[in-house]
Symmetry: C2
Subunit: 106 residues, 2 copies
């Protein structure tokens, strides 16, 4: 061992779920979705317009994010509103923006 410190507990297997969810997060469109939804709720069409992709593609991205429990949705008439369902996302997004969007901070 290179240091006198003890190895942290855990193993590769403990990170399987984390890796799955990070992989879902690791897409430019999905990061933008999270950034928007941390500020309020949006419909599929609104998000698709912002990201400049077709509605059905947006629907696919939202489904992936829902599968990781990052988002949930509420139907209101013809529209479906998506919103953040995972409290850790705010902190995680702050880290990501702090590292990768340093010039665009408010």
């Amino acid at each position: 061992m290179s240091k006198s410190s003890v190895k942290p507990p855990g193993s590769v297997d403990n990170f399987s779920e984390a890796a799955e969810c990070l992989k879902t997060l690791a897409h430019p469109v999905r990061l933008r979705i999270i950034q928007l939804l941390l500020q309020g709720r949006y419909t599929v069409g609104e998000l698709a317009a912002d990201c400049d992709i077709p509605d059905n593609a947006m629907s696919d991205h939202l489904r992936l994010l829902q599968r990781c429990s990052f988002l949930n949705s509420v139907r209101d008439g013809r529209f479906v509103y998506y919103q953040v369902a995972e409290s850790h996302l705010k902190q995680l997004m702050d880290c990501i923006e702090g590292r990768f969007l340093p010039c665009c901070r408010t």
Copy 2:
């Protein structure tokens, strides 16, 4: 717009680099590597043993992490020690561990 709040600045394109780096991070072995290296420096062989993968596979993972500037390396004789090179990694890893390893916190 669904709320009176203003949309956050930026766009999908601003997240391209972030998505690239998160994709690199989104692997069980690589998350474990980061966790270990946040505690001290390790050689390729030590990391490979901990993660139970061949040395050359570990070398590949380390190269990917280096490409994102997450890590750097120092040769000492026959050994190469890897260490964390990105100050944001600690905070990011805290988020990830807080969300996905809640039972294993120290």
